[in-house]
Amino acid sequence: MTLGGEWYLGLAAVIFTIGAIGLLYRRNVLVMFMCVELMLNAVNLSFVTMARMLNDVGGQAVVFFVLVVAAAEVVVGLGIIVAIYRRRVGATADDLHMLKG
């Protein structure tokens, strides 16, 4: 018998929150990206938990897709970051405020 699902979900919530707060706190673009990955992982955990709780393997399929998409996202995102850093070295998220209204 495994542990009840609520624990896993609670843990996922905590990780998600930490990731969210980290995204709002940090200025370094790479660290912000990593916080996004934290959030994605928290969601993955909750999906798998739900799959077990509801006896539906579709939850695990969704995690599969999330994984793929996250990977693709990281690839492209890092490419962009590299492209930005080539020109302005040491750019942080705050330096890109040209779209100020």
């Binding site: 969210a20 995204l23 709002l24 200025r27 998220a93 705050d94 890109l96 405020h97 040209m98 779209l99 100020k100 209204g101």
Partner: protein, 645 residues
């Protein structure tokens, strides 16, 4: 097809004439343009007589027939048709409009013979005839209004016919603007009626007068009276009529004596069923205004020097009589007086025109005199007109004026007696000023030699001596004189069989007709008193004006009366002073600051809110992330709320 179905021909004749003259008037030239117009008007008259004959053949209850031409406006609940109603009232009006109109058309051929814009004049005259006939024969309020506006427009055209003269142009505008005030009343009344009844056809409206609330009926009645006051020159909207004498004399005769000004009285008589269910104060108001107008105009006429101005004020005064009659509920008397007045007033105006023509455009009576030598036909017919309007037995005016006074007396309450008194006084004054006019113009020593050069109406080279007018001008005079003598026979008060007009008009008025059975002795007594008043007026005028020098009677022509009791000056002062102030305030304060301020204020609010909202767009991604998180929190909170609750 019934004969009455051809009713549409009546207004069609002058319309056709107008259209032909519009296109080919210049080519027709004089005098053929004039003959064409006269023929058209006469054709309309002939058709009306045929309609009249057909109607006489019907039973009294069947004497209304609607001829529908086509659907005009059909939108929502409003269904308007171009349709003409033949009933006793409208046929009566049409008869004398076309009859007198034809005579005046004929007269104008001679009068305007030397005018450059001869064809245009007849175009306008025909157009006017068409509008007036539409007004009179229409079967719904809106078509009447169309004719109403048409006669107003033609009046403007014709008053300012010699528009190169500034006074004429101004007079035309004044007439139009003053009439517009009345038109506003007409329109609002129409709206109210449509709202209350749902239809604007006369027959529908009059069938449902019981359902009208008294308040609505009163409002409608008063507003329509406002319209009538504008058109028929009652106080306080009478100021346009004396100035309208700037137009050629046939215009004054046709429009401002016989036909257009009677449109107001016609309207009031037409809506008699509504006036009957309105608050009695409505009719009292109408009566009092009519009486006041009659007295005011009669007083002013006593001190005027221009031959046409006297007649203009006289017209206002007689219209006051008709409105007074309406106010006392004597609708038939009003119509009767309208018909007789058409005869003798047209006669008087045409006679005056003949005098002016013969004296080469002299209009000041103080410079006329002794004309009976040179203009015998004009003199004789003018005398007939004079006696008729003064109310001397047995001419037409005597009978019709007495009907009105009888109606006032028989009403029985304080207003009735007051109006009777006012009417009597006015009758005296009428006799006085008309006699003054006759004596100044036709009797005494000729004063036309000591006048200067008179430029004026139609200046043309003539011999210096005054001369009689041509046949085209004198024939209408004779015909009208005959009618003024015999016109009384329309409605003799000697008991029911003689009251032709009353019997004839009964189906049109229905309940509103108050047939009063006054005793014969009462009628005789009142008639005698009125006749005495007339004779007294003539006597006073004879004493002061017959052989005296004109300027010896300054006391009888006080300055206030000459200036029409400063009515015009008062209006000018008001509109020039406070009126302009009000307009200025409205334009520069209300419009510029309040209205524009509100509009600009809205724009300013938008701009300032935009400027504030702009601050949300900091450009920092982390701030936007904060926003997203806030959104998440809100969504979760809502979900929790739904789940828990």
């Amino acid at each position: 097809m019934e004969t009455l179905d051809a009713l549409w021909l009546v207004p069609a004749f002058p319309l056709a004439g107008a259209l032909v003259l519009l296109v080919a008037g210049r080519r027709l030239g004089r005098p053929w343009a004039g003959w064409l117009a006269t023929l058209m008007c006469a054709g309309a008259f002939a058709t009306t007589v045929v309609m009249f004959a057909a109607m006489v053949g019907l039973e009294a209850e069947e004497r209304h027939h609607v001829t529908r031409l086509f659907d005009w406006i059909s939108v929502g609940g409003l269904d308007l048709h171009v349709a003409f109603l033949a009933d006793p009232l409208s046929i009566t009006m049409a008869l004398f409009v076309t009859g007198v109109g034809s005579l005046i058309h004929l007269y104008s051929i001679g009068y305007m013979a030397h005018d450059e814009r001869f064809p245009t004049f007849f175009l306008y005259l025909n157009l006017f005839a068409f509008s007036m006939l539409t007004l009179v024969l229409a079967d719904n309020f809106v078509l009447t209004f169309l004719g109403w506006e048409g006669v107003g427009a033609c009046s403007y055209f014709l008053i300012s016919f010699w528009f190169t003269r500034e006074t004429a142009a101004v007079a035309g505008k004044k007439a139009f603007v003053t009439n517009r005030i009345g038109d506003f009343g007409f329109m609002v009344a129409t709206f109210l009626l449509f709202g209350a009844v749902g239809s604007l056809d006369y027959l529908d409206v009059f069938a449902s007068t019981e359902q009208l609330a008294t308040g609505t009926a009163t409002a409608v009645g008063l507003l329509l009276f406002l319209g009538a006051a504008g058109k028929s020159a009652q106080l306080p909207l009478l100021v346009w009529l004396p100035d309208a004498m700037e137009g050629p004399t046939p215009v004054s005769a046709l429009i401002h004596a016989a036909t257009m000004v009677t449109a107001g009285v016609y309207l009031l008589c037409r809506v008699a069923p509504i006036l009957e269910v309105a608050d009695p104060a409505t009719l009292t108001t109408i009566g009092l205004v009519g009486g006041a107008t009659a007295l005011f105009a009669a007083l002013v006429a006593c001190a005027q020097d221009d031959i046409k101005r006297v007649l203009a004020y006289s017209t206002v005064s007689q219209l006051g009589y008709m409105v007074l009659a309406v106010g006392t509920g004597s609708f038939v008397a009003a119509i009767f007086h309208m018909v007789t007045h058409a005869f003798f007033k047209a006669l008087l105006f045409l006679g005056a025109g003949s005098v002016i023509h013969g004296l080469h455009d002299e209009q000041d009576m103080k410079r006329m005199g002794g004309l009976r030598k040179w203009m015998p036909v004009t003199y004789a017919t003018f005398l007939v007109g004079w006696l008729a309007i003064s109310g001397v037995f047995p001419f037409a005016g005597f009978w019709s004026k007495d009907e009105i006074l009888l109606g006032a007396w028989v009403k029985g309450d304080a207003t009735g007696y007051l109006l009777w008194g006012v009417g009597l006084l006015t009758a005296l004054l009428t006799a006085y000023y008309m006699s003054r006019q006759v004596f100044l113009v036709f009797f005494g020593e000729p004063r036309c030699d000591d006048r200067g050069d008179a430029a004026g109406e139609n200046a043309h080279a003539h011999a210096q001596k005054p001369h009689e007018s041509p046949l085209t001008m004198t024939i209408p005079l004779v015909v009208l004189a005959a009618l003024s003598v015999l016109g009384g026979a329309l409605n003799l008060p000697f008991g029911k069989p003689w009251l032709f007009l009353e019997k004839w008009l009964e189906p049109s008025f229905g309940e509103a007709l108050h047939a009063h059975d006054a005793s014969g002795s009462l009628k005789f007594g009142l008639a005698a008193v009125a006749l005495a008043a007339a004779v007294a007026g003539i006597a006073v005028a004879y004493a002061r004006w017959y052989k005296q020098r004109p300027d010896a009677n300054a006391a009888f022509e006080p300055v206030p009366l000459r200036r029409a009791l400063y009515l015009d000056t008062a209006y000018a002062a008001f509109f020039g002073g406070p009126g302009r102030w009000l307009a200025g305030k409205t334009a520069y304060v209300v419009d510029a600051k309040v209205v524009d301020g509100a509009v600009n204020g809205v724009a300013a609010i938008v701009r300032s809110s935009g400027t504030q909202l702009r601050k949300l767009q900091t450009g920092y991604v982390r701030n936007y992330a904060l926003g997203i998180t806030a959104g998440i929190v809100l969504l979760l909170a809502w979900t929790a709320f739904r789940v828990a609750g």
